[in-house]
């Protein structure tokens, strides 16, 4: 599935001082290619997370459109957009994002349960892949930041999405686990998915097919 953004922009209101608002993302065109891992680098506050959220149907742009195979996802009803996200987009949000009342396995299974399935075998396979199979019955409170991040990756992949949007997925990981996660995203792209990785870690460039830079809300293809 091809995901494209046409002249999308997003501005936020300033809480104090200066102009009333600022552009987190200026008018931007972007295409997320299938079978490829696209890495967007940028400092904190450069607008890369905002771009990812707009692509994931999580933040309506102030202008422009986001198209999935030519269909404007923001023209869909909330129910249809939610179902589309559940089925086709795997989002790995920044930070720790477990559902605290569920075990690791249940967290990973959650998107499949929402889709009316229970892909337990695949969930266990994913947990094995991200290296936390032994923690399947642990509660999120018992996991380290890195383990929680790996759980979120497994959860994003459970419905075998054709689009994966990863926001700083290696933020809390050591070198070994960083390599594992990047390899996993690389493999996911190789399997046919369109993968977007936004990060400020330069090592990710080694795994990416396409490398872009974001600065001051502008996307460029030069590092």
């Amino acid at each position: 599935m091809k995901l494209t953004a046409e002249k999308v922009s997003k501005k936020y209101n300033r809480k104090t001082g200066g102009a009333g608002y600022f552009y987190a993302v200026g008018e931007t065109d972007f295409a997320l290619e299938e079978n490829a891992l696209t890495a967007v680098f940028g400092r904190s506050g450069s607008g890369k997370t905002t771009l990812l959220h707009m692509l994931g149907g999580l933040l309506a742009p102030d202008s422009g459109r986001v198209l999935a195979d030519g269909r404007d996802i923001y023209a869909l009803s909330d129910k249809a957009l939610s179902a589309f996200r559940n089925r086709h987009i795997g989002v790995i949000p920044q930070g720790s994002t477990p559902i605290a009342s569920l075990t690791v396995l249940e967290n990973v299974l959650l998107p499949s349960l929402m889709a009316g399935e229970r892909a337990e075998a695949y969930a266990l396979e994913l947990l094995e892949t991200v290296g936390i199979a032994a923690l399947r019955d642990a509660m999120p409170g018992e996991l380290s930041g890195g383990e929680l991040r790996r759980m979120a990756i497994a959860r994003a992949l459970i419905n075998k999405p054709s689009i994966v949007l990863a926001d700083e997925p290696t933020g809390d990981l050591d070198d070994e686990n960083t390599a594992k996660v990047l390899s996993l995203l690389r493999d996911t792209a190789a399997g046919g998915a369109a993968v977007l990785l936004v990060t400020h870690e330069s090592e990710a460039a080694n795994y990416a097919d396409i490398v872009l830079k974001m600065d001051g809300g502008k996307l460029t293809n030069t590092l």
Binding site: T49, D78, G95, I99, S101, L109, L110, L113, A115, M139
Partner: protein
């Protein structure tokens, strides 16, 4: 967790402090609503039962009794005591006063100590032929005519093992035990006029030195009157007081108001209770709404994650409603059960302290009130939470996640 429906239960079980806090608030809300309505309706029932039990518009007593004894407490509440007037006044009223629909006489006798009871016992004699006051009430427990030496007793009177009671040496057969009223009527005994005459005779024989010997064939204690439709009760009262000497006619309603620390006082109390109940319910509902809204705000990030994973706004509201409906349902039921337990424990105490029967509504009425209470509790809690969650979900998920990221 087998399906997504298990998420709500997991959230409840795995967050015990939050769950218990919400459950307690819901229980308090239900307690204030159900407890208040139970209190108000029980007091109203008590007042109604007093009027209905007497069944008379006017009570006539010997004039002398009005200054010597608490005649009103004796008549209304069944407090042990006695007074008498000549039976000719009964005939005079019956024959000479206009506007009387029904008229009957009662005779009272207070036992010093019967074989059955450790305290004094009030015996009330009535004439089955003319009675319209005692029998409708007694018939709920005993529908046959009482014969000589038959008695119907209040719930606090304990008969002998052979279902007899011995009064002044006379053995009475207990035919029925009345339902509990929560007042001194529970320590009263009802007999027909012939039995009463025998008991007064026995009393006279046991007390040969008493100041005034009562002739059981010539006395009554009170006359009860039901006024004909179209006649004004106050006019009939005035007529009796004007034309029949040595007696005092009193409107029953006024008598009840004197006994029950004034009818208007109790009515006022019911009004205050109703206002208090509404205020308590509103405050509890506001407290619950605030608590639920605060908790929903605390859970913004959790909701955002669910949205990220594909939950629509409606589905998210559904999760939250299901979770909170389970909690408020449990809390509502707990509040109702606590109220019922407290009502059962304290009803007699309340009745004693206010001098009124504290009559709980029928089981059907209580079940209906309990159901409405639980529904209101669920509506106040779960709907607030679901609406709050739905509103939160209308904020772009990205903005919530961004806020979290700082």
């Amino acid at each position: 967790m087998k399906s997504i429906n298990g998420l709500s239960l997991k959230n409840i079980i795995k967050k015990p402090v939050r769950s218990v806090a919400l459950l307690v608030i819901a229980a308090f809300l239900a307690f204030s609503a159900f407890g208040g309505s139970l209190m108000v309706s029980s007091l109203s029932n008590g007042l109604d039962s007093l009027s209905a039990r007497l069944g008379a518009d006017i009570v006539v007593v010997p004039y002398a009794a009005t200054s010597k004894v608490s005649y009103d407490s004796i008549i209304i509440q069944g407090k042990p005591g006695q007074f008498y007037m000549d039976a000719k006044y009964y005939d005079k009223i019956k024959n000479e006063i206009e506007g009387i629909d029904k008229i009957t006489a009662q005779c009272f006798l207070a036992s010093a100590k019967a074989s059955c009871c450790s305290t004094r016992l009030q015996i009330i004699g009535f004439d089955p032929k003319t009675d319209f006051s005692v029998q409708p009430w007694v018939e709920k427990s005993y529908s046959d005519d009482l014969q000589l030496y038959d008695a119907v007793i209040g719930s606090d009177v304990t008969p002998n093992s052979d279902m007899t009671v011995v009064i002044f040496g006379e053995t009475l057969r207990v035919q029925a035990v009345l339902d509990k009223t929560g007042t001194e009527l529970d320590s009263a005994m009802y007999v027909n006029a012939d039995t009463m005459k025998q008991l007064i005779k026995a009393h006279n024989e046991k007390n040969p030195n008493q100041e005034r010997v009562v002739d059981p064939d010539r006395v009554v204690s009170s006359v009860l009157i039901k006024v004909q439709d179209g006649y004004d009760i106050d006019d009939v009262v005035g007529d009796i007081n004007l034309h029949v000497r040595q007696v005092k006619a009193i409107r029953t309603q006024n008598m009840i108001s004197d006994v029950a620390s004034s009818l208007s006082g109790v009515s006022g109390m019911i009004g205050v209770l109703m206002v208090l109940m509404v205020v308590m319910w509103v405050l509890s509902a506001v407290l619950m709404a605030v608590a639920f809204t605060m908790i929903m705000n605390e859970r913004k990030k959790e909701f955002a994650v669910l949205r990220v994973l594909g939950a629509s706004r409606a589905r998210l509201a559904g999760f939250v409603f299901q979770e909170n409906a389970l909690l408020t349902l449990a809390g509502g039921l707990l509040g109702v059960l606590i109220t019922l337990a407290l009502a059962a424990l304290f009803a007699p105490l309340i009745a004693q302290s206010i001098g009124l029967p504290f009559l709980l509504p029928s089981p059907l009425m209580m079940a209906a009130a309990a159901a409405v209470t639980v529904l209101l509790t669920v509506a106040a809690g779960a709907l607030t939470a679901a609406v709050s969650a739905y509103k939160i979900s209308k904020i772009d998920t990205g903005l919530i996640l961004r806020g979290d990221n700082g």
